[in-house]
Symmetry: C2
Subunit: 360 residues, 2 copies
Amino acid sequence: MTLPADHPSHALRAAGSPMLAACRGDGGRRHTPVWFMRQAGRSLPEYRAVRGSGSILDAIADPALSAEITLQPVRRYGVDAAILYSDIVVPAAAIGFGVDVAPGTGPVVAEPFRTEADLDRLVPLDPKTHTPYVLETVRRVVAELTPMGVPLIGFAGAPFTVASYLIEGRPSRTYEHTKAMIHSRPDLWHELADRLADLAIASLRSQILAGASLLQLFDSWAGALSPPDYERFVLPHSAKVFAGVADLEVPRIHFGVGTGELLTLMRDAGADVVGVDWRVPLDVARTRIGERHALQGNLDPALCLADWPVAEEATRDVLRRAGDHPGHIFNLGHGVLPETDPAVLERVVDLVHRETDRSR
Amino acid sequence: MTLPADHPSHALRAAGSPMLAACRGDGGRRHTPVWFMRQAGRSLPEYRAVRGSGSILDAIADPALSAEITLQPVRRYGVDAAILYSDIVVPAAAIGFGVDVAPGTGPVVAEPFRTEADLDRLVPLDPKTHTPYVLETVRRVVAELTPMGVPLIGFAGAPFTVASYLIEGRPSRTYEHTKAMIHSRPDLWHELADRLADLAIASLRSQILAGASLLQLFDSWAGALSPPDYERFVLPHSAKVFAGVADLEVPRIHFGVGTGELLTLMRDAGADVVGVDWRVPLDVARTRIGERHALQGNLDPALCLADWPVAEEATRDVLRRAGDHPGHIFNLGHGVLPETDPAVLERVVDLVHRETDRSR
């Protein structure tokens, strides 16, 4: 299928959305688009004011609250894209796998995935019944964003990163149980990853059909893998996710941390845009992925905790290294740190827009 | 100065130590040497039997115990090098900075380094008075190892990695306070890093003069930095450490995790051997560092938790990628994981020795 004629992405493209233009390497964009991973979150006082102290999964299940949180950074920063306020474990939690998000820790699973029997806990996602609140949030957000000319990014966790939470049971530095399963039980691993690919596809399709204009697949922890292991055990499943949404023809961003050696593989999984953290300078990343894809990144979020001249110089350095290539989306190399002063991010947005302004 | 004529490294070199030969790219070595980071530790039942439950700093301060622990993996595995049982925060703790190592957590600092006033807490290290137990452990270990033809690796933490603990106060994923200081207070950062370089130099020199035949500088967390930041703020201080021991003419290994983009800079800091984690295949690492230096690595330690055929294939892959270059030291890409079955590591050692045997 293709997107219906009244999908907001058509209007946004016609209106010259810099974000949608950059994803396609369109040189006619007004300026380099900028948004920030985790731009909606604890760094914003208006977020802390509405968020309360309950579980993030409860907040995500409240469309009025989630829509408000999604929109806050657009209003404050004038970023070129919103990203849905959600979490990569939402689909797994919604189908009843037994995932929670512990404040200050992250996703935790009381009974981690270990054997074939656990596959039964991974039933197919029916977005209309399992995550109707996500669709309602998307609709509310898009109704506000489209007149502003700003697209919404839908997202999902990639099979490896979601699997790492389900298998480890909590955030890990070594991913040792996951790697042990990948290698000792490749049959079980592939079955698990295949089901998580289906979960991601169902979730992404529903977000797009509800109004999101592009998507990001978060394989945040794929950088823990060697390139041969990534290629053999992970890439096929992420490629399935990208292939599973290809007919919708929305731009696809593929992001992970510490993925310097994986950039070409992550590109080849089917992405239009490859996200890069700050460890790989963008000019180096460009030599790896070539001229035909867009890059997203890559200011070190920790530098936004320093004084403005530091963030300013680092922002300018990112722009210099991105060069004249029209396929650049300015972002941090990872999520906004909670202690970040929003005033610094405001200035980053202004600087990127000013320095790359093509309307003059 | 140069090493005294009776320093054990002369005898070990004359006896054809594969470890010392590989560090210098000497093609005449008997086989590719192998040792494992954290080979002395919780994965060994004989370690758990002697270690007790007290602080690791107390264990390190007991030369009889530390020497025994250092020697255990040499006896069990027949590795080609021992590494001193110690910790990178030992010098800072010994001069009274106020560092402890919390079981299950890592180094913790009750009063983190934040201002100029904290510089006064970093007095020069006098190894004979501050860490006499380290020197005694080295002497005991070397007395046993030298007749076996096995060299001892002395080590220190590099200024960035040690500073990250002193500044963050505990292990960190983001190093945000450290990066903020680097950029907002470069004067204070450089003064701190310079003192930590002096600390590392004093510690390394004392270990070598007591009998260690080579050294490894652990900049475990340097991979958190972008290459420009590493080059400007970290490399000069690590280079000072290497320069500060150059006259002793022992091989110098430089190691960090996630340092794919930093390998040439870490080489240029003054290392003879560049350590590589599993994220960068060794053939790729070789193209980055060139032919004139040795490489150490890089089996993913998590693969040693899988079944033997998995570890076997991964070991063979490392050897294939290392190729014929005489400058290869087989190691894991990071430390042995506590859950590792020692039988797997035994087989890795045997396999590396057998596959690279040149005595036939």
